[in-house]
Each structure stands twice: as C-alpha cells, then as structure tokens.
C-alpha cells in the first residue's frame, strides 16, 4: 500500500513539473514566428521612437513626435 501511494504521488509530482516546464517553453505566436521586418514593440529598433509602447492611446513625448514626423514611416 505505501508503495502504491508513493507511486501515485510521484506521478502527480512529475506531471506538475512537466506541465510547468511545458508552460514556460511556450511563446506567443508573434515570437515563435519571427519576421525579419520591423516590430513596433521592440524599443530602440523601430521607426516610431524608442518610447513607443505599442499602445496608441498613450501620449507620446511631443518633441519626439515632432522629430518622428520628419522621417518616413515604415
């Protein structure tokens, strides 16, 4: 009986560990399917300014906005 209970416990522990491992391996599709072109969410590498958060409703630094208009948009 103790062997049986210990085996069940071992199965559950291994299952939880592997589940957590799988979950940590997962990536959102926009990361797992990378593209070579520009990504708006990468700060410093995009064309709309390094403080661009991806949220269009957040107010931008007005000076940066003025500077940005002089460049061609992507």
């Amino acid at each position: 009986m103790p062997v049986i209970l210990a085996s069940i416990a071992l199965a559950v522990v291994l299952a939880i560990v592997s589940g957590l491992g799988l979950f940590s391996m997962q990536r959102p599709v926009y990361q797992s399917q990378p593209m070579q072109s520009v990504r708006v969410g990468d700060p410093g590498h995009n064309l709309v300014g390094p403080n661009w958060s991806g949220n269009p409703s957040q107010p931008q630094n007005s000076e940066r906005a003025l500077n940005a208009t002089s460049r061609e948009p992507g």
Partner: protein, 198 residues
C-alpha cells in the same frame, strides 16, 4: 432570412491586402493572429491568382462538429460563431477546417494554446451586441449596426464580396458573363456544397 457568404473573385484580386489590414484594424486583432489573409497561387507565372481567405462560415461547419466542448453556434444568417469562454484551445477546429480559419494566440505546446480566434463576419460573439466586453473578445459587431463586413467594404477592386449568398452569386455570374471567363468561386464547393454555374 438571408444566408450570408463570402465570395472572392480571384480574377480581380490584386493582392493589395486592404481586406487584411481593415480586419486587423477594426477588430484590434492581436499580433500573430491572421483572421483574413491573401494567398497567391502561381506567384510570378502566367495565370497568377490571389484569393482572400478567412472563415467561409460553412454550411454544416466542420469546426462546430468536432469541437469537444461544443462552443460553436450558427446564427440565423448562417454565420458560424464561437464562445471564447467555453473554448479550451485544443485545436481540433483547425484540423477540421478546410480553410485554416481558426487561429491561436500561443504556439508551441498544445496544452495552453489560448482561446481560438477567427473571422466573425463582423458579427461579434455570444456577448451582448455592441458592448465593450464583446469588442474586447470578438471585435467590432458591424452586423448589429446594419453594415456588412469591413473586409469586403474596403476591397479596392471589389473582388471580395460579402452579403446575401444569392445576391453575390448573381453579381459574380454577371461579371463572368461580361468578361467571358472566371476562375470560379473559390471554396464554395467545400464550404457551401454548391457551385456557381457560369
């Protein structure tokens, strides 16, 4: 009630992707999810054709049939919608869909692919029509406002037609007769089990 369908006239599509952009913008579709996409056949060769493809809202939808939690439902107009609350992200609907319409926000292991997302014919979901909650989950509900899907409205060449199945079939037939050829209504045989005779 009218049974609504999509029809993409492949002889007019110029692969401009306006339909893709319109859909993504209107519904705030997250990165990586492609509700509508333009597939180009015979790219660069004579006879190149592009087809704009999203959910066709099939008759007897295979996605609805194989869902293990029965999260799909068909409206009176023939639109196939699903509930993201019930969806467990198993992926069976993608295997069953002949057009690859269902999309999942997380790739990788099957265990937690996230809730399935797909074209809703701009008709929202099971939440109450035209509410913030519905918009957050399913996107804009244009049908509730009496409008047709935005992809077809934005099509630059009017190759993508959306609306009453009989009306758009008639429009397509007239076009084919006028110009003398037509590569067919792509996907209609598989989705609606009917051909447009031209």
């Amino acid at each position: 009630m009218a049974r609504v369908k999509f029809l993409c006239d492949a002889d007019r599509c110029i692969e401009c992707n306006a339909c893709v952009t319109a859909c993504k913008n209107e519904h705030d579709v997250p990165w990586g999810i492609n509700r509508r996409r333009v597939v180009t056949l015979n790219d660069g060769k004579p006879g190149e054709r592009s087809v704009s493809m999203a959910c066709m809202h099939c008759t007897e939808a295979p996605c609805a049939a194989v869902c293990p939690v029965d999260c799909f439902y068909t409206t009176a107009d023939g639109i196939v919608l699903h509930s993201k609350d019930l969806c467990i992200g198993c992926g069976y609907c993608f295997y069953a869909c002949p057009f690859g319409a269902p999309q999942y926000p997380r790739a990788g292991n099957y265990g937690s692919r996230g809730k399935m997302d797909k074209c809703t014919y701009c008709a929202g979901g099971p939440e109450q029509d035209s509410t913030e909650v519905e918009y957050g989950k399913y996107g804009r509900n244009r049908l509730d406002e009496g409008k047709l899907p935005l992809c077809a409205e934005m099509c630059s060449t009017k190759s993508l037609l959306a609306g009453d199945g009989e009306i758009i079939a008639r429009i397509y037939k007239e076009r084919v007769m006028k110009r003398g050829y037509g590569s067919g209504a792509w996907g209609w045989k598989t989705a609606y089990r009917e051909n447009i005779s031209t």
